[in-house]
């Protein structure tokens, strides 16, 4: 258990080091002089002189060698000081706090919806492996996996918002705005999870203990519930860990596509505007979301299969 937590903690630290290090490098290569910018900010553009900039440079220690600056950069990061956005001037942490909620909602809705679609479909095709339904689900899954999320999102938008005019193509607030972005992500996720569930169910269905449960007279429904689902659930949950990459990347893409006010949208805009503090903050939060998602999957696996914990 401690080993599991420690592993994810190390991953979180790595995320911070990679994001922080890259953003530090980004500040150093961007054109313009930070000391001049800060001096202009403080004293107004009229009072901006070389001397004022030099004074700021000395005061803030911007003339120190870069390893020292890097250490200071990481020190700020460790204390949660993310700085102000270069575009809006607002503190990055405040902007992110406002965007975190919508992003978490989107991720949670997409995940829940993908399980609602994927699991029953996987169960049905696994119990009747090789049937027409199973083949159809396979073709659908292969096709969905080859479709980039943004194309899938556009197709849904064209069908449901423009042709049928059922759902709005953008915005945030009610379930109606939430439906298309989360469905886009959910279909991509379900394409994988339905097949993983199908394989797991088909495999469990072929085991001796499963056949014995049938032979001893348990009704079909009870066998599926008591012996089938729990054993088949382990690979599905394990696979969710791998799908976390798809989910996080998908949130970034789908938020930008549907003009959804979340962190992924903010990240893409910050990259275009080269708003370094915002890029750092948004990438950091998305990265930490990824780590937490992985941790959740780890813990869920342990819960479903206590043997994993006992082995250590």
């Amino acid at each position: 258990m401690t080993r599991l937590l420690l592993g994810r903690l190390i991953q979180a630290v790595l995320v911070a080091l990679v994001v922080g290090g890259l953003c530090f490098a980004l500040v150093r290569v961007l054109p313009g002089d930070a000391a001049f910018r800060i001096a202009a900010d403080r004293y107004g553009p009229d009072a901006l002189t070389g001397q004022a900039a030099e004074a700021v440079r000395r005061e803030l220690g911007l003339d120190r060698p870069w390893p020292e600056l890097l250490l200071r950069w990481f020190g700020d990061l460790a204390q949660g000081r993310l700085g102000n956005s270069l575009v809006s001037g607002e503190p990055v942490s405040e902007e992110l706090a406002g965007q975190l909620g919508p992003s978490l909602w989107l991720a949670a809705c997409a995940l829940a919806l993908s399980l609602l679609i994927g699991l029953p479909l996987g169960l049905a095709s696994g119990l009747r492996a090789g049937s027409g339904l199973d083949r159809l689900a396979l073709v659908g899954a292969v096709a969905l996996r080859a479709l980039p999320p943004f194309v899938l999102g556009l197709v849904l938008m064209l069908v449901f918002s423009i042709r049928l005019e059922w759902l709005p193509p953008a915005g945030y607030g009610t379930w109606r705005e939430m439906a298309l972005p989360s469905l886009t992500l959910a279909l991509g996720l379900a394409a994988v999870s339905s097949r993983v569930a199908r394989d797991a169910v088909a495999e469990v269905g072929a085991t001796a203990y499963y056949r014995f449960a049938r032979l001893k007279g348990l009704p079909a429904g009870a066998v599926v519930l008591r012996h089938g689902l729990r054993n088949a659930g382990i690979p599905v949950v394990t696979y969710l860990g791998l799908q976390a990459v798809y989910l996080i990347e998908g949130v970034v893409v789908v938020e930008s596509l549907f003009a959804y006010p979340g962190i992924g949208h903010a990240l893409v805009h910050a990259v275009i505007a080269r708003d370094v503090p915002m890029v750092q903050g948004a990438a950091l939060v998305m990265g930490l979301m990824f780590v937490l998602l992985n941790l959740g999957v780890d813990l869920l696996c342990r819960l479903l299969d206590p043997r994993l914990g006992a082995a250590r």
């Binding site: 996080i248 970034v252 893409v268």
Partner: protein, 278 residues
């Protein structure tokens, strides 16, 4: 002599498992698309950037075989150039991920010790973040440029090659036949070439196709959210977004680049999946 006997008695893989139906369909699809991407720009004389505003949104089958976009640029030429760009960039990123990945993987398993631990730590660092986030941060260095896109994708993709090469080599190194080859006096390069490489080679097609599929998806997605390659370039993802406002007039013009991306990735994924279609 013993080695030869073992080789003869070893499990002969029937050709059918290496070339299952899905892989053959995938490779066939890829061959067609590659022909379109390579021959298209040669046969279709049209310049993908030449505008003819009087032919704006020309329908399919008029002067333009597949119609024209809102600037009156030939869609056939743009699709062919876009396919070539996607294919070429995916191939380039795959190669620059595969070569160091494989070499470092074999090296890590072979040498062990500090070298292996350093390389594994490096791969852990890359895997800590989802690949697209890494590419996005790198793109902030030079938005719309080819180099950060290429470097970021290669950096994210080499890990898979590295891990497979390392685990396969590590598994082989403890087998008696490697020890026997060493005792017989064969040198390291010989053993690597004749014992280790043949074991990794069958996995290569799967890994390479998978990496190329990921690269094509990422390249088109990033241009579609306007941080990747920029509009005048005939890139499939940005073509879709560029044409989207004209969906009501020319729906096919929007859907064709999307279909092309879909077919490219489908061909690669069917090839990658090989024997294990699920």
């Amino acid at each position: 002599m013993m080695l030869q006997m073992q080789g003869l008695a070893g499990p002969d893989r029937p050709a059918a498992t290496a070339w299952p139906l899905s892989r053959r369909i995938g490779l066939g699809l890829l061959a067609l698309l590659a022909a379109f991407a390579l021959l298209g720009p040669l046969l279709v004389d049209a310049d993908p950037a030449r505008q003819d505003l009087s032919a704006s949104l020309a329908p399919i089958g008029s002067d333009f075989l597949l119609g024209a976009d809102h600037y009156g640029r030939s869609l056939l030429a743009r699709l062919a150039h876009g396919a070539r760009l996607s294919f070429g960039m995916a191939l380039l990123t795959m190669l620059s991920a595969a070569v160091p990945g494989l070499l470092l993987g074999v090296l890590a398993a072979w040498r062990g010790g500090v070298a292996e631990r350093a390389l594994v730590a490096l791969s852990d660092i890359v895997l800590a973040l989802p690949g697209l986030l890494l590419v996005l941060i790198l793109l902030a260095f030079a938005p719309g440029h080819f180099l950060p896109l290429y470097l970021g994708l290669s950096l994210a993709l080499w890990v898979e090659f590295f891990r497979v090469a390392r685990t396969t080599t590590a598994r082989l190194l403890v087998e008696p036949r490697i020890e026997a080859a060493r005792l017989l006096g064969f040198g390291t390069p010989y053993i690597l070439r004749h014992q280790v490489l043949p074991e990794i080679a069958p996995l290569l097609l799967t890994l390479a196709a998978f990496a190329m599929g990921t690269a094509i998806l990422a390249i088109s997605t990033l241009s579609a959210i306007s941080v990747g390659l920029q509009p005048p370039t005939p890139e499939l993802g940005s073509m879709i977004v560029e044409l989207l406002p004209y969906y009501a007039e020319a729906p096919l013009a929007v859907l064709m680049p999307g279909l092309l991306i879909f077919l490219l990735v489908l061909g690669l994924q069917l090839t990658a999946r090989g024997g294990t279609v699920r």
